[in-house]
């Protein structure tokens, strides 16, 4: 499948939205995990706000990189993958630590 390169005028948007996808995905993942640990509703909303910004960035990235056909599947994979991956990893964390002596695994636990 041939590609249509980024237009000269969209250079900055391409670089910036790509960087923001990874950064907002990380902020979303981080806030999601923090919300689970601290059980604070505001942090949970913060995570979703980060995810909405991530979706906007994926949209801008898809437009300026002239995505069509298969490439749109890539955008969809990023949008869904980054939404569910932190949840999956969280479950893996809980599962791999099940036999540990309990410090503060439960929501709202203290931090040493």
């Amino acid at each position: 499948m041939l590609i249509e390169p980024v237009a000269l005028s969209d250079f900055f948007l391409s670089f910036f939205s790509a960087a923001m996808i990874i950064l907002t995905a990380t902020v979303y993942a981080g806030l999601f995990a923090w919300a689970k640990i601290s059980a604070r509703r505001s942090v949970y909303w913060g995570a979703w706000l980060a995810y909405i910004i991530l979706l906007v960035c994926v949209g801008i990235f898809s437009i300026v990189n002239n995505f069509s056909g298969y490439w749109l599947l890539l955008s969809l994979t990023m949008a869904l993958g980054y939404a569910f991956m932190p949840r999956l990893i969280w479950h893996l964390c809980v599962a791999t630590h099940t036999l540990e002596p309990k410090h503060s695994h439960h929501s709202g636990g203290h931090h040493d």
Partner: protein, 501 residues
Amino acid sequence: MTLQTYQEKAAVYWSNCKQRHAKFMANPNLSGGQKLAVHYFTVAMVLFMAQLLFGLLAGMQFIFPSFLYEILDFNVNRMVHINAMVVWMLYGFLGSIYWFLEEESGVPIVGLKWGHLAFWVLTGAVTIVVLVYLLIQIGSGDDTSLWLINEGREYIEAPRWADIGIVIVILVFFYNVTATFAAGKWSGIAGVLTLDLVALAGLYTAGMFYVTNISVDQYWWWWVIHLWVEATWEVLVGCIMAWSLMKLLGVRRKVVQTWLYIEVALMFGSGILGLGHHYFWIGTPEYWFTIGGFFSALEPIPLVAMVVHSIYDSGAHRFKNSNHPALTWIIAHAFGNFLGAGVWGFMHTLPQINLYTHGTQWSASHGHLAFFGAYATINIAFFYLAAQQVRGNVWMGGDLANGWRWKTAAVLLNLGVMGMTVALLIAGYEQSFIERAVEGSTWAGYFAAQNNHWFMQAMVWRMVFGLMTAVGGGLLFWDLLEIGKGETRPAAIIQNDAITD
């Protein structure tokens, strides 16, 4: 001074070296494997200093193009700079594995004398290769030069005889590792490590044969470059990190091994076919756009997963340890890997934009931060673990005498590399814009971009931060030689999430 005086001085120096080496080999705090590991770490640090020195010289030549012209040309400085990096990282990895091999397997290393022999052979070969690089800089290329001087493949320029030597040394290393685990006990880390070493030695052979078709040649060449760095090295570092976390923070074996398996799965899922992002412009079929683009976009997922796990752990565990320098460098590893490989990689990995950025200073920007963040940091962390044991497993936490040294070195190195990365990013952005997009990758466009004031200013800033990195590197070297000397407090014993003072 006469020749005789020089000879006498050299004899005294050599005698001192032998005495210090004999004293080190009698160190009761270290096992046989750990002594061999310290040999590897020492050469790794020397090569790190060489990497910094030749990087500074090459950086200077961007600002003053006639600097050392026809004495030490840019292509030679750049080659030694990058080769020194590849080799010091390998030395660090090999040393780290020799370091924990006996403790992990529960038995002394099988064939340790072969391991020592391989170390001296490898170190001798590296010295000869570098001397040949420096002494024979110009000449025609033929079969003789390919076998004896320079193979001509970027990043793996070592001549063919050295290639064969490297594979033999890795096979000796493989024998040490597998025979030791076979004689002792196997573990999840042992299994992953053994399989990874097969790939490490096997993939290197993909860069050792020559074909006349440049696309085919590049196709196999990337098997060494990409699959080493984004597959076998990543797994190797995963094994080293798994063991370090058990040692430093007392994380349970079951947890680190499970995550090691997950990492291997993610690596198979993204890193291997992410190779496609190197196949965009070398003449391979266009389906590599699709494969490379898709799997490269998946490559940051393990890094995002790491964030969730680290927050989970910080909420679930006491965060105490008795080797603050090592822990600091492991934290730097997490951030550096995320920014350098994740953010800087994804910014220019898809073919729609990579068309303009590939091979510009943008690649250098990504390369500097990714290699430092993903590999240099974990090696330095391990050097500090080794330094602690060499001094008799002493306390290396708060209130450490001359603690300013490791802290300053860490700040200077991290700020220096980050500064170089941003400066190179500006230069790369300008090159992508002017040379590639505006001028259409013409020869005139290349020079227009190189002479643009944004490029030149960026190169000056890169030099400033390069000097900062070099000062940090020197301080790190000094600190590793001195840290823990005179310290009498024992390190805390860390096991299974519990700390006993």
